[in-house]
Subunit: 227 residues, 2 copies
DNA sequence: ACAAATAGGTAAGTTAGCTGACAATTCGTG
DNA sequence: CACGAATTGTCAGCTAACTTACCTATTTGT
């Protein structure tokens, strides 16, 4: 990517649009663009220096590994999303997390949180944007979990599917074709259920004529009918 | 409270200790101290002007009311905690929330979001503290929800009890006596379970000799043994 | 092209914890 | 103190969804 283009991407980003060109440079954002290919892994959990990442383009998933080595997909992130040590906190030694690229090409941009902190010092406006972003994330997470807690598996599955398909479908509501990059186990992890139950629910929707799917893609005839 | 005392409270607060006397004044913090008695309600959800609140002393709980009018305790907050529109977000019209004093006397201090935002803009140190605080809150909530999802009710109950008792016990780990201001239903709401199950679990711990409790207080012999 | 690995499909057995119903206790207030 | 309301205690179903187990289809690597 050209320097110019990089600058303008950052300029458009909701978080960084308040930074001057000099501040961008100070943050070392521009030299830290990185392109990763599908299935490439970005470790950010036990990295030597804590970093904050933002996604320029593409899709990736956050996978967490527990003490027994079980891997669970925790989140699906798309362009504009933030991940990494966004709390400025020490990393929790108990859990291990990494990000893995789902789409063919994912462009991310990272910087050290210390640098970020320094920029905040000279540009407090960034702090407000940042808290708004964190607040947004908080809201989304709360929402997600509220669904998880109070609804049954079927409802959770349908809500997840709806959300997924709508995000990928960029606003469309009918005849959306989504590349099926998640396994049944992945989905089970995301909605806190089991592989078998997810399989069952997929087939249920298929038999009801609401969706059509193969291993490589999912076709939803009408998003609104899912509910 | 005397003006002086108010100033020093703010001066000690992790968030506001970086403010000069002039900034404090600009924030209009000092005129906005308020004392509420037990069971008094602080509405902050549909207030005409958005406010951020911090607790000087006492304990209160955040209660949310859903569309059907069911009330659920969402959070227990203590001195130093923040509540209200701390993410600078718009209020969600769909849900109604209020805070209600649990302890005999709760002193809170509030100010308008806009004023706060302005101070943040001109005080980088405050900006950093604030981003850390909000980030920390995000982490805590995420953690809470993760527990809710992946652990069984017994574990959730014990984790909750441990956390509660340790917060009230101010660091002590043995023979902590906690004023029991939560009903079994309240606790059930917090750990996403039912009244009956909470009753059962309380009695289980009691019979196991790990705790002792009446309607008015809970005595935990050794916090570490709970796990 | 084949074996090995991974993903999807189906079913019977099991269980944590929810529901509902009701009794016992405690609290609050005239 | 006495009555009604709120809270706590107990128990017998019930059921959604998890386990375990096994089999088939598809993908991947060499």
């Amino acid at each position: 990517m050209q320097e110019e283009a990089k600058y303008w991407y950052l300029h458009d980003h909701q978080l960084f649009s308040v930074l001057s060109r000099e501040e961008n440079r100070a943050l070392c954002l521009i030299p830290n663009f990185k392109t990763v290919k599908k299935n490439e892994i970005i470790y950010f959990s036990h990295d030597d220096e804590q970093r904050l990442y933002t996604i320029k383009s593409g899709t990736l998933k956050i996978v967490s590994v527990d003490a027994e080595g079980n891997e669970t997909v925790k989140e699906i992130l798309r362009s504009g999303d933030l991940f990494g040590q966004y709390t400025f906190d020490e990393v929790d030694e108990n859990e291990d997390e990494y990000a893995i690229a789902i789409s063919e090409k994912v462009v991310i941009c990272s910087f050290k949180i210390n640098d970020f902190e320094n920029i905040v010092k000279s540009n407090p406006q960034l702090a407000i944007r940042y808290t708004k972003l964190v607040g947004f994330k908080l809201k989304r997470i709360t929402n997600n979990y509220t669904n998880l807690m109070f609804k049954d598996v079927r409802t959770r599955f349908v809500l997840f599917l709806k959300d997924w398909v709508m995000k990928e479908g960029k606003g469309q509501t009918k005849d959306i074709v989504v590349k099926n990059y998640l396994t049944h186990s992945d989905i089970a992890g995301l909605i806190c259920s089991t592989r078998q139950t997810v399989t069952m629910l997929f087939n249920e929707l298929k038999n009801a004529g609401l969706i059509d799917y193969t291993r490589s893609e999912i076709i939803v005839k009408d998003v609104h009918q899912l509910a």
